[in-house]
């Protein structure tokens, strides 16, 4: 994949940061690399401001926004040591058409206060994606115009992509199942 050109402001060196060295930053947020892809780790407070900066720097399109529930995978790698990991993450993929660069944001969301500022004002295209993330993970987006369930029925209980949500296996009964018709001889 040749899709990662270094955007302006990024170091040209593709070397992984050595432990102990000062953490790399880009647009004021901590930067890591995941298989050559640039990943930013803004805090929830930094997130709206960072989006604005990115919008001004040519990242005109939010390609994707989704949630991840790290309930059963707490010891994850790829997050800088100074970032406190939380149960949820909102992952935002942005694209810069001019420099042909991609950037990924990973925002940590605690479970007891699962909310994040909406990107709707800057990127109206996140409307459906934020609704989906809300629907599947129960993460609220402040400032979203219409935060309702989008894929599940509106009276559904629970958020299906959370790891503690039972995906509901229907037991298959091969023997002794009641017949649809009364037995005739």
């Amino acid at each position: 994949m040749a899709d990662e050109a270094a955007p302006t402001g990024a170091d040209d060196t593709e070397v992984e940061a050595t432990p102990g060295a000062a953490p790399e930053e880009l647009f004021g947020a901590l930067l890591t690399r995941s298989g050559g892809q640039l990943v930013l780790h803004p805090s929830r407070e930094q997130y709206p401001k960072l989006l604005r900066t990115l919008h001004e720097s040519g990242y005109h399109m939010v390609i994707d926004l989704c949630g991840v529930d790290y309930l059963t995978h707490s010891g994850r790698t790829g997050v800088p040591a100074s970032v406190a990991t939380e149960r949820f993450e909102v992952v935002v993929n942005l694209i810069n058409h001019k420099e042909r660069a991609r950037l990924r944001l990973r925002v940590q969301i605690p479970v007891d206060d699962a909310r994040l500022a909406s990107a709707f004002d800057l990127y109206p295209g996140t409307e459906a994606m934020e609704r989906e993330t809300f629907d599947m993970f129960g993460i609220s987006f402040d400032g979203h115009p219409d935060l309702t369930r989008i894929l599940m029925p509106e009276d559904w209980l629970g958020h299906p992509l959370r790891k503690d949500y039972d995906s509901g296996r229907i037991p298959v009964q091969f023997k002794g199942a009641p017949a649809n018709r009364p037995a005739t001889r």
Binding site: M1, A2, D3, S34, G35, Q37, M61, V62, I63, D64, C66, V68, D69, H73, R76, T77, G78, V91, N93, H97, R100, R102, R104, Y123, P124, G125, T126, E127, A128, M129, M136, G138, G143, H144, P145, D146, L147, T148, R149, I150, L151, M152, P153, E154, D155, W156, L157, G158, H159, P160, L161, R162, D164, Y165, D166, S167, G168, R169, I170, P171
Partner: protein, 444 residues
């Protein structure tokens, strides 16, 4: 079966909002802003005032279109607010085909994954398989053999042809050109026949897998493609006669459902809809994956951003795809069609009888699956509908920890309120059709 019960606070939060389009006197400015299709031009306060004075509430009517409607391409439900014949607001309501495929993907191994994702975009199944496989390969940090790369390119472009032919058929059908429907279907069947020859199935192929492809190209594949490449151009010329150059067709589509490049960028819209505005962007050329940097083809762009441009772009893209297929035919390298990494690729059937290791590998791969190193990756490709991306988080186990597919139709559907605003209800069908949503991919 047990169900998780949420705290009452969460329940209130999730059941308060109806998904339906609400009448004008109860909606908020933010929602109006969105439904007016005016997010880019109006401020929130303006949105409250604009049109609200001009339109008297009892002159408008909210009607329901779908989910079972022949021209909504599946189970898309639209709520339209009409004033007479004019559509003022529109809200797509989706989820009728939601089957939790992202959740299912977490329970399947990486080898089983393609069977699941292939059912998302059922008109272009190979693309979702490709996006999934490329993401897994990125996490594994492996390179597939060159022949596999070119086979993948050949097959996805054939799939693009069949998908766009399906669009030709349904677009004709939606606008009343029933003969076009039959022609489109006829040619698509020919393209599917080739896919069937190679993969064994017309749809939902499960052909592109992590590590390569499922099988090598069969004997006589060159002749099949050459036959197809000879057959298609005259048929496409017929389409030009039947539709492109026909005044009724042009009247029906030109100037209908106009969108600007700025609106497309803001809404995250990709693919033919973005290109119809004159915005020159195609991942195959601009961020090449597979071996598209070695291929010579043109990116087709429109200039008006209307339904006709979107139709014409897709027709022209069939011709471009044929160019790519021809180059794949000429440059198809020899070699292996899948990676010879025993941890990823199951051994050939013959080896199982003679080698204990092969038997063990075979058993391990099909029962437990192969482990993928911890990490996360997002890889995107250009599907017939736009950018199709796959985001996978791996925790080091044989199943994806989280598998998310960025479906182009899901995002492109957001243009409907913008495209429909101010158009006639009769044109609504033309607009839905020109967005070309695949509901399997929208709802996943």
């Amino acid at each position: 079966m047990t169900t998780t019960h949420e705290a009452p606070a969460n329940l209130a939060q999730t059941s308060e909002g109806a998904q339906e389009l609400t009448s004008r006197d109860v909606i908020s400015a933010g929602e109006r802003l969105r439904e007016l299709g005016a997010v880019l031009r109006l401020s929130e306060s303006e949105a409250l005032d604009a049109e609200l004075d001009a339109v008297v509430d009892d002159e408008t009517m909210i009607i329901n279109m779908g989910p079972q409607h022949p021209s909504t391409h599946g189970v898309l439900r639209l709520m339209l607010e009409l004033q007479g014949e004019t559509v003022l607001r529109c809200k797509p309501i989706i989820g009728y085909l939601h089957t939790g495929m992202e959740r299912t993907g977490e329970d399947l191994t990486y080898l089983q994954g393609p069977t699941n994702v292939t059912r998302m975009d059922y008109a272009a199944p190979l693309f979702t398989e490709l996006a999934f496989s490329l993401t897994v390969e990125k996490l594994l940090d492996i390179e597939v053999p060159e022949r596999a790369v070119w086979i993948r390119m050949l097959m996805t472009e054939m799939n693009r042809i069949s998908s766009h032919l399906l669009f030709m058929a349904t677009n004709g059908m939606d606008l009343g050109a029933v003969s076009m429907m039959l022609y489109g279907w006829r040619e698509r069947e020919e393209a599917l026949r080739f896919l069937q020859e190679v993969t064994g199935l017309r749809m939902n192929h499960n052909y592109i897998r992590p590590g390569g492809v499922a099988a090598d190209l069969p004997d006589g594949w060159r002749d099949s493609i050459l036959r197809l490449l000879d057959m298609l151009p005259p048929r496409l010329d017929e389409y030009d006669v039947l539709m492109t150059n026909q005044p009724i067709w042009r009247e029906r589509l030109q100037g209908i459902g106009v969108i600007s490049a700025e609106e497309c960028l803001a809404l995250g819209v990709t693919g033919p809809i973005l290109r119809s505005t004159g915005y020159d962007w195609d991942l195959r050329r601009d961020m090449p994956y597979l071996a598209f940097d070695k291929i010579d083809f043109d990116v087709v762009v429109g200039s008006f951003g209307d339904c006709f441009d979107r139709f014409a772009i897709r027709l022209a893209e069939i011709r471009e795809s044929m160019k790519i297929v021809r180059q794949c035919l000429e440059n198809m390298p020899k070699g292996d069609y899948r990676i010879q990494d025993k941890k990823v690729t199951p051994p050939p059937r013959a080896r199982i009888d003679e080698s204990m290791e092969a038997l063990i590998h075979h058993f391990k791969i099909f029962t437990e699956g192969f482990k993928v190193p911890e990490g996360e990756a997002y890889v995107a490709i250009e599907s017939p509908r736009g950018e199709l991306g796959c985001y996978i988080v791996s925790d080091g186990s044989p199943n994806p920890y989280r598998m998310h597919v960025r479906a182009p139709s899901f995002v492109n559907l957001q243009t409907l309120p913008h495209l429909m605003h101010g158009n006639l209800v009769a044109d609504a069908v033309a607009i839905i059709s020109s967005v070309d949503p695949i509901l399997g991919e929208v709802d996943r």
